[in-house]
Amino acid sequence: MSASESRRILIVEDNPFNRKLLQTILEQEGFVVEECKNGKEAIERLKEEKFSLIFTDLLMPGMDGFETIRRIRDMGIATPIVTTSSMNSKQDRQRCLEAGADDFLPKPIQTEQIRELLKKYEKNTTQSPAAKDDNECPVSPINASDYRILLVEDDETLGRRYQQFLEKFGFHTIRVFHGDKAWEIFKLHNRDYDIIISNVFTSGIDGLGLLVNIKRDYPDTLVFIYAAEHDTDMFQLAARIGADGVLTQAEFESGMIPMIESAIYRCAQKTSRATAADTVNQVRKAQANLIRLGCAEPCNTIDIAYSQLTDAGGDVASCRRFNLAGRCGVVLGDVSGHNVMSSYISAIFLGILSSVWNKNQNPSDLLRTVNAELNKADYADYHLCVSALLWDRRRGKLRLATAGNPGALWVKKKNNGDIDIEELGGGGMCLGWVKEDFIFTDCEIEMTPGDFLFLFSDGIDSKAVIDILNADKELLRRETTKGISQQILDRILAKQVQKDDMILVALSEPETISDAGLHYSFPSTYSGVEGACQWAAEMIKAEQIPEGKESVLVLLAIREALINAVNYGNAFSHQAFVDLSLYFKPGELRVDISDEGAGFALPAILNKIEHIRVEQLGNRGLAVMNSVSDQVVVNGSTVSLIFRRNI
């Protein structure tokens, strides 16, 4: 970070008055202040520029502060983030920290508090140009200056950014714009380059073509391919052709260096018996980007705690809310080994997960799919132990599947206040070892409100958790699940020396989900749609149809959304469910329809009925939803139709 960058602060705040106030204080302290009006603007800015400190508001239109922080961290940016908000409850602070913020500044802002924060982050804000920033350029186990890279990227901005990134680590990097130019240069001067890094989409020969040519004629050259988005087929193809690493642009700055080091390490192992240099620092930093605890949504029902071993591993834990009807997924992964390769496998696992999880919400399906993907790539001695669960909170049903991981502890509360703990069996074969897909264990339970389920990696002994729960039943008498995992983990660590990474996930529904709405669920069939429509027709009273709306057309729009969920969301799977919820407000009716699919994007220009030709068959259902309702909102696999009184 240059001296000028170390004095730059970014303010993300939608309120112009608050923005000006903070700017004035910071400028008085001698800082250069840049402003963004919302999270989206900030994300764009941070792609291009660096800052020593970021202040962000929490409540902003569009992308709120929590999401903004999460995205900044996902970009691999470690700059300290301070949230500023009038939401200053303990829970809000906790959420900020969980999202990745470093500090919390309550509004109204006090000058003295800001000075204290600036002092606290002095290292970031007063660094000299010569100083080395550990966050940006960690100690590398290889001597990067020994390696020369040919980078192929036709986008000027991206190319410059990646070139600077690689050079920062000491790699001598030459950039070319086109694949054919790269091939031409490489043929003439192949001794000058050790590594090729190419965007998969380049002019002339594309990245895969370049990979084929180089691996055919110069097999010892390392080739890495990156793409704008994860594409399983393309990634697998690149791996089969012989790419030494494949990753998405989003992972470039967090994953490329460990990937290069891993490939160099593997090459060194092939050619000599020499062991790799100490890779711990590097791996730790790479791993920090891979452990994704929790999901972006605020949640009081799933709690994850993690204790990392001092030497790195590759454990991951993640949860996801699939729809607004309360269907959530949790995945806990434990990668074998404690080295660069472990982190690399974790990255691969997360990449696969990001593409397949929504479409494979059933835990057994998810394990089968991930196993198939890992087997395509053949990672030799490495394997993954995974627990996956799907929790249908509204119905209380929870499905769990394990591949080499421990099972879970199901804690049932008895009427007399006692608890009954049942161990759910785990085991099964780890992912990535064998191609068979019947090697996992699975079970289904019905959790009642107040029950707890604990899921953990093999670093935690189930007996230790049972002892703690039996010894202190007060632990489970709480309104929220938040914090319980950390408390248990702390107690375990107080009694034993940590020998492995430890991840503990707790799930509990404090009480039956209830809200002001009316809810109906049905198996995903057309006859189910009929039943749901009859239910909706009975539940929506004439006076609850917003004034100016035709009830027959409102019911038609609901019917179309339900058909859409059966056809596309659940792809005609009769095992799947559709949830229908009705919410009434004066002058407004909101209808939520959730399926088990991956969600869909509304067409940019969604035709109204009057604009489509009557002969046209496609999109008629969407057109009805859009024409009759005042607003169609798609949030994951939930579509909301909002009907308002016509003014």
Binding site: S527, L553, I609, E610, V614, V624
Partner: protein, 104 residues
Amino acid sequence: MNIRKQGTTLTLIPESDLTANNIEGLKDYFIAQLKEHSDFTHIQLDAGGIEVVDSLGVNLIVGLYREAVSRSAAIEIIGAGENFIKVANFFRLPSLFPIKKAEA
């Protein structure tokens, strides 16, 4: 589902709603009847038994209309109830062929 043939007028009388749940059976039946009575010059769809029509039902009606046009036959809907007419108007079906209300 009933059917009536008077001269060259073919009247299709569905007894269930034109909705996703029923549409496949109705479509097959319509196709079979049009094939069997191919000498028609006039198709009537009697909507007296239809309470609900969804987009798949509208697609079926439009399919019938296109079939009639391809055979130079006339088409109309008769006996339509109030709800049917609201949906038909919403989809602008009256711009394609006549829709007659059910007699009181």
